[in-house]
């Protein structure tokens, strides 16, 4: 259908539209008009992706009329399946365009992923791990390897890359929609490398779909996304965890093993330098000359020379020359050695140390006479050295790269980072396992370039409440912040807050565990098909399951349903998931016991009968004793005026909402949501749940006992089991174009968006 959204003609590839989708597009358009950033929350399963795509594509189409508008859409998602899903939606939209307008438009949209997912080289693509693929690919495509081939024709190179390099750049990728497989097919047909083709094509593509890391991780972003146009719209989908992604991309953890591997790296470097000095001293002299001139020139690298890692360096550093202390190769290796020994000596602690970056720098100067400036150049210098030494397999050098990144970061940022050295893990205080955490506490450092560079950044997810906390922790100013609810003709969510407690003090209590067991047992008798139960941690789950076993509760449950358990092992978990789905397909259904913040809670959808009930046992707080978390909380309080408790509750609630939201994946879906903890009833917790969940909380569903819950769910499930027709929905939660245009409906729609 064709929609008119404040004067913008939007093609929407479906015959019906949800009112909230219309409202969402309205807000989105206003954000784009204002050329600002936006935070939009809309429940999962209401067609966020297609609303986003159809509006932005429409916007791009008219932008030829308004020359300063949007030219490119960068859509960031989390996982490869999600990326593929987006591309499929886009394909549908484009087909609709072609049908309606009758002309083939020249839109180019493509997905980009790692080499592992895109490689078509027969040997390289058969490798199992992403790192291996990257390393092998690099050893075939690096510029000096290819240069050597001129001298020595037996040097193996990647023919796909050669072919692409020879002709691929002149011919732009024909317009169309490409997912990963399409790219591979295209690459095979032409004999071009799909990965480099995609990386080259994103520069002129209209729509790029890729993972967060390509924008947020400074090392990758510098390679891939550096040249993307300013007039782009960036969308972060499923962005409720975006602050953690930012923080992870800037943090470095160094263990004893890293240092040992680094030691080996440094030894190899030294040997290689010795060898080269004897055979080809001119090469080192040439590098030396370049370094004297300054890094800017040394930095002009070919696109394949990915010695990775360029943590956000201020530009003025690149323009300056490398300090004399690390200019020659031997001196630099000696420098690395000293730095390494210093780190080793720091790791030999017996108690926890926490210090700021300036303190660390002062100490390192006192101990091993390393200045701040050479440290700052460390990452760049190492890259230059690796390039000069022509080391083919960079995967081996990840340890020393990590260390040099750490050196650069610690000397560049005096604020927003903290150094914590722990001699052992908290859970195993007898086993010495020293770790140096260099942890970033300010997510805005990693994301700042994105907000600065791009015209509009949209952060959207099903769970972003409370909305105002994201602009604060990411330090940006949104022009729109809106939360949308799901309009429903019937209540297909039943929310129960069960008055049990799993406060830390009482959670090992026998009675509490038994009550939880009873709840699950009763529900397993009432609910058809699948039930998903979430615990707060793996340890807690193990404890509870063990004592359920002793109390005979498990046995009773198994009379009703099969039980599957998520473990920390990914392979085991996916096996359990598969069998769980099989059990839901036939038979009396199953129960999946899993953990909030685990793999299941983040990425797996339980549509329809796979999840008829979700039970959340306890409040999924993070492990609050961790020092990194404590440091971060302190930083948040000092810098952003966010109280510790507020942040912890916010974090717990977004995970709880994420878990519970797994069950409802659309309007025809229904499910029970049970929060089994009385702390959820408190106003401070309830207020932080997304609005679409809050709306279903009424006084009748608060503080229930197990029996009351069972009664309520029985009633609810019987009601929901009645046949459900589309006609019932029409006009209420599903609109045709005529209905949409009626005055009354437009009035209603304006109320959907909840501004904050």
């Amino acid at each position: 259908m064709k929609l008119n959204i404040e004067g913008l003609l939007v093609y929407f590839p479906y015959d019906y539209i949800y009112p909230e989708q219309y409202s969402y597009m309205l807000e989105l358009k206003r954000t784009l008009d204002a050329k600002g950033h936006g935070v939009l929350e809309m429940p999962s399963g209401t067609g966020k992706t297609i609303s986003l795509l159809s509006l932005i594509v429409a916007y791009q189409r008219v932008s030829s009329a308004f020359p300063l508008d949007v030219t490119k859409l960068i859509y960031c998602s989390r996982t490869v399946p999600e990326i593929e899903k987006v591309v499929e939606e886009l394909r549908k939209l484009m087909e609709f365009y072609a049908k309606e307008t009758g002309e083939r438009n020249n839109f180019l949209a493509l997905a980009l992923s790692s080499r592992k997912n895109l490689c078509i080289h027969p040997e390289v693509s058969s490798l199992r791990f992403g790192k291996e693929v990257d390393g092998k690919c690099h050893s075939l495509t690096a510029s000096y390897i290819r240069a050597q081939r001129h001298v020595n024709p037996n040097q193996p190179v990647c023919r796909f890359y050669e072919e692409f390099d020879a002709v691929g750049r002149q011919v732009p990728l024909p317009a169309g929609i490409y997912n990963l497989d399409d790219l591979k097919d295209f690459g095979r047909r032409k004999g071009w490398c799909p990965y480099y083709l995609a990386r080259y094509a994103i520069l002129h593509a209209n729509i790029v779909v890729y993972s967060y890391h390509y924008l947020l991780d400074p090392k990758i972003a510098d390679l891939v996304s550096k040249e993307l146009a300013k007039k782009s719209v960036v969308v972060f989908d499923e962005a409720h965890n975006i602050d953690n992604v930012c923080i992870d991309s800037m943090s470095v953890n160094i263990t004893r093993r890293t240092l040992d591997r680094c030691q080996n790296n440094v030894d190899t470097l030294q040997n290689t330098i010795q060898k080269i000095k004897e055979t080809d001293a001119a090469k080192l002299r040439e590098e030396y000359r370049r370094l004297v001139e300054g890094l800017k020139e040394a930095n002009v690298a070919r696109e394949t020379d990915i010695y990775l890692s360029n943590p956000v360096l201020p530009d003025e550093i690149l323009k300056e020359a490398v300090p004399g202390t690390i200019r020659t190769a031997e001196h630099f290796v000696g420098f690395l050695r000293r730095f390494l020994e210093y780190l080793k000596s720091r790791l030999r602690v017996h108690h926890v140390v926490q210090e700021s970056a300036p303190q660390f720098l002062k100490d390192i100067f006192d101990k091993v006479c390393i200045d701040r400036k050479p440290l700052r150049f460390c990452a760049e210098r190492l890259q230059s050295l690796l390039r000069t030494l022509e080391i083919a397999d960079i995967a081996d050098f990840s340890a020393v790269t990590l260390i040099s990144n750490f050196a650069t970061l610690v000397s560049t940022y005096s604020q927003g980072f903290t150094i914590i050295i722990e001699p052992f893990e908290d859970r195993t205080p007898t086993i010495a396992n020293p770790v140096l955490h260099f942890s970033c506490m300010d997510p805005s450092i990693a994301i700042k370039p994105v907000f600065q560079r791009f015209q509009s950044v949209i952060i959207t997810s099903g769970t972003l409440s409370p909305l105002d906390i994201y602009p604060r922790i990411l330090d940006f100013r949104p022009v729109t912040m809106a939360s949308f609810t799901m309009t429903l003709n019937t209540f297909n969510v039943c929310l129960c807050l069960v008055a049990l407690s799993s406060k830390f003090e009482t959670r090992e209590d026998f009675a509490v565990i038994r009550n939880y067991g009873n709840l699950l047992l009763e529900m397993s008798a009432v609910v058809p098909d699948g039930i998903v139960a979430f615990f707060t941690s793996y340890v807690y789950m193990e404890n509870i399951v063990a004592s359920w076993y002793e109390q005979g509760i498990l046995e009773n449950i198994q009379r009703n349903k099969l039980i599957f358990i998520e473990t920390q092992d990914a392979a085991e978990t996916s096996m359990a998931l598969e069998k769980y789905q099989e059990a839901c397909e036939n038979g009396r259904g199953a129960i999946l016991l899993s953990v909030a913040r685990g793999k299941v809670s983040e990425g797996i959808d339980f549509v329809h009968h796979f999840g008829r009930a979700v039970i959340m046992f306890g409040v999924p707080y993070v492990y609050t004793q961790s020092r990194i978390l404590k440091a971060r909380l302190e930083y948040l309080r000092d810098q952003f005026q966010i109280r510790e408790n507020d942040f912890l509750t916010f974090d717990a609630m977004r995970h709880a909402a994420q878990c519970v939201g797994r069950a409802i994946r659309g309007k025809t879906d229904y499910g029970l949501m049970i929060f089994a903890d009385k702390r959820y009833a408190r106003a401070d917790k309830r207020g932080k749940l997304p609005r679409w969940i809050q709306e279903h909380i009424n006084d009748g569903s608060l503080n229930l006992t197990v029996d009351e819950t069972v009664q309520l769910s029985k009633h609810f499930l019987r009601q929901m089991a009645q046949p459900f027709r589309q006609e019932d929905q029409l006009g209420l939660s599903l609109l045709t174009l005529e209905q949409l245009e009626s005055e009354e409906m437009l009035q209603k729609i304006t109320q959907i968006a909840h501004q904050t």
Partner: protein, 296 residues
């Protein structure tokens, strides 16, 4: 790390966790016991390289690699002499060359390359630059100054926060004390029965408690984001009004000159430029008009 040991008596850290390893200027390790035994007379030769050593120069080994210990020792010594700062040089390039030279000296001394000559060079340098060395002794490099400043700021921040917390606590204590005193006074002077007074006091105490609790929670709000934008600033959600303007459309200009007819463009080249005012006027607008014509 457990496999480190004394090369002479072969004791390792694994067998004797309290083993203390020592290093001397040559960079070879010995355990404390062996040092005591071999250097009873205060000096002697290194077991491994025969360098004459003094007992007083033995240091506890800080790093796993004894050569790093040696290097740091040498470096500290060299840096005491070579202490020029970046502002002593006219350009960055020269400073960097100087730094490299220093690095060379340290490298040579650590790896026993050309030791004699290097030492001579150092002595010569020391003689030549005595003044500067003396002058720079007290000075820090600019970067170190910055570091010190940062550290100072950090300390001040911490101190201030601690003080604030302390003051807050004191204030609360005082408020409580005052409350108690008020109760005593009232009990002394008031005509009301004691039970009522006590009840009143209880209510007041509870109020105080909640007040304190609230104060604790209310963190001082700052009114600026780090970007310099006011917090709680009302953000307009209205779309930016798009100015509905008709794009500029070029129309050829008609000027009534009342003079002789303006020559055509191609004629101009042939006839040459005249001082005629109408011609120059003609030229001056042909230039921009061709651009606007393209735009429209």
């Amino acid at each position: 790390m457990d496999d480190q040991g004394c090369p002479r008596c072969k004791t390792t850290k694994y067998r004797n966790p309290s083993l203390k390893l020592m290093v001397n200027v040559c960079g070879h390790t010995l355990c404390e016991n062996c040092v005591e035994m071999l250097f009873v007379r205060g000096s002697g030769n290194c077991v491994q390289c025969d360098t004459p050593l003094r007992k007083s120069n033995f240091r506890v080994q800080l790093f796993e690699d004894p050569t790093v210990d040696k290097e740091v020792e040498i470096r500290k010594k060299v840096l005491k002499i070579y202490n020029k700062r970046d502002f002593d040089f006219p350009s960055l390039r020269e400073y960097n060359d100087y730094l490299e030279q220093v690095e060379d000296i340290v490298f040579n001394l650590t790896n026993n390359i050309d030791v004699e000559n290097t030492k001579l060079r150092m002595e010569q340098y020391q003689r030549e630059n005595r003044d500067i060395i003396q002058k720079n002794k007290a000075k820090l490099t600019r970067e170190q100054e910055e570091l010190e400043e940062l550290l100072l700021l950090e300390q001040q921040g911490n101190e201030q926060r601690r003080l604030e917390a302390l003051q807050e606590e004191q204030r609360q204590l005082q408020a409580k004390k005052k409350n108690k005193q008020a109760l005593l006074d009232e009990l002394e002077q008031s005509q009301l029965p004691a039970t009522i007074l006590l009840a009143q006091h209880k209510v007041r105490a509870a109020q105080l408690e909640t007040q304190i609790e609230q104060q604790k929670q209310a963190v001082k709000p700052t009114n600026l984001f780090s970007t310099g934008i006011q917090m709680r600033q009302t953000v307009s959600l209205q779309p930016v009004p798009r100015i509905e303007e008709v794009l500029y459309h070029y129309k050829p200009l008609q000027v009534e000159t009342y003079g002789p007819r303006v020559p055509e463009l191609e004629q101009l080249g042939r006839l040459g430029t005249h001082g005629d005012s109408s011609t120059t006027g003609d030229l001056s607008w042909t230039q921009p008009s061709s651009e606007t014509g393209e735009l429209s």
